[in-house]
Symmetry: C2
Subunit: 318 residues, 2 copies
Amino acid sequence: MATIQDVAKYAGVGIGTVSRVLNNEKGVSEDTRGKVLAAIDKLRYTRNSLAVSFRKNENRVAALLVPVLDHPFFAKLAYYIEDELDKNGYSLIVSSSQSRQSKEYAMIEKLKRRDVDGIIFVTHYDYKDEAIADLPVVSIDRHFKNVPFITSDNYDSSRTACEWLVSQGCRNIAYIGGKTLVESEVMERARAYEDVMRERGLPVILESKVIKHGEEGPLVEELFANNPGLDGVFASGDAMTHAIIRHCEETGKDIPAELKVVSYDGVDIRAGELRHKIAFVEQPVEEIARASVRTLIAKIRKENTPLKTQLKAKFIHY
Amino acid sequence: MATIQDVAKYAGVGIGTVSRVLNNEKGVSEDTRGKVLAAIDKLRYTRNSLAVSFRKNENRVAALLVPVLDHPFFAKLAYYIEDELDKNGYSLIVSSSQSRQSKEYAMIEKLKRRDVDGIIFVTHYDYKDEAIADLPVVSIDRHFKNVPFITSDNYDSSRTACEWLVSQGCRNIAYIGGKTLVESEVMERARAYEDVMRERGLPVILESKVIKHGEEGPLVEELFANNPGLDGVFASGDAMTHAIIRHCEETGKDIPAELKVVSYDGVDIRAGELRHKIAFVEQPVEEIARASVRTLIAKIRKENTPLKTQLKAKFIHY
DNA sequence: CTGAAAGCGCTTACAG
DNA sequence: CTGAAAGCGCTTACAG
């Protein structure tokens, strides 16, 4: 493997000059640049980026920390985040932490060790704020003191959804959703639901628990067992909605005739075969992803970053 | 930030000794080890892994190259691959190449530059074999000369699926699936389908084209437009199955009464609300993922690796 | 515009 | 068992 030394020797210049050409710095004569470029070409030189990273103390790698990767919302998020990072010359490392929280701490260690330059995370776990406050870190939906976070307008869009359920004639509407261990914008969905129910003089039926992704089924069963008269449900997350649909199939309950469902997220619903039966709040996943990356990169560069970035969700009904 | 120098000075030893402690090398007296450990603790020293990577010329990072990340099969694959890599001390970089093939070449460049230590890829694109033959690379489902690949028993499981359709009374069975640009194990599905149809004296109805993920709809429309009498379909991939379901919903065709469907993949079907209507071949995603990682790591270490690893898929019907 | 040199933080023969 | 030193491949003041 050719090194910068070889190139310099071959071109008859100093290694500093080669470095300048490599980095497109100006202040190199066209003549010299030509010789260097020819040498690079001739020797099939490619820069050792491990050396560059070491020297510059930056890796051009960012990490995304999600509970699981194989849920549609997170997968889409990862997809767009990777795309946006790539455009900015960064690679994306992903890590799923639901199985072991230690992976989140491990990633923070990597950040401190400059193994990764920044972290975007969507976590359910709690952090001692000080631990990450000054690091280049961005959060989606969850907020920690001084950590910039990106979110959709959970409250407003949830209000719209709940009011729509009422307008459709529902009078026994439940909210069902997982609970996070940290203060999260996701809770705004439940708050909006409660507000609408109260204003309309309707009963508040809240089914909310700390669960893992993949464990939505039992929660749904519990909801229906305790509330036989339900005619509407506002589900926080597509996985929850799938569990509801499964329940209805098994018990022969017709959607939407007997039960109207609104799903928060919608990434899965939109693409699927369900759009005539389920209304949904569609999160602006792509915008969330790109905004996260922009904010993260700004933080890495120590530029000013807004603490909160809120993006508009869309309510889509049949 | 404390460096190894600081630790050495504080502990009153040489940096080589600190390095040995850091790497758990034996041949360090307990006494010395204790002093070094105390210094590390006292100075809150963490090793600069950029320096280690540079020095050792390895990054402990592997890349996964998929067409898109937000399809269930790829997302699950990424999930388990990350898990297995993590257990082996590697991080995972993901890259989606469908939007730009150049990202695949870019990743190969990174591999050559030792930016990543190995690549697992699932690609639709073609490669000049020589370009990657000697690099630490593993492929899923597609094969290139001398590149180890991991796959499920596409042919056998597809046979089972097609024979089941026949046993259910179907006589007009179509195969529908995307076509890859490279020789791929996925083609075995179509081959098995054709074999079964021929043996049974049934018509062969093949709908296969090079399409991108997300563009399944038109292909499905074409299939049904040209073949009004279809009573069974073997779909290669869950996304295709979803498009079929959507078509049937729109045209009021009942599944499974009027049309029986078998889906290859099943990751999406299994979890969803459809398992009473759709039969599926379930790919052993987790095993495929873990086998890929094991093979890749073996290749990175220049150990012997099997060229082909084939894992059993399961046929699941209602 | 260019080169010689220092130095980033480690690992690893080498010598003892 | 341990230390001093070379060196990995770059970037970046510094001097000219």
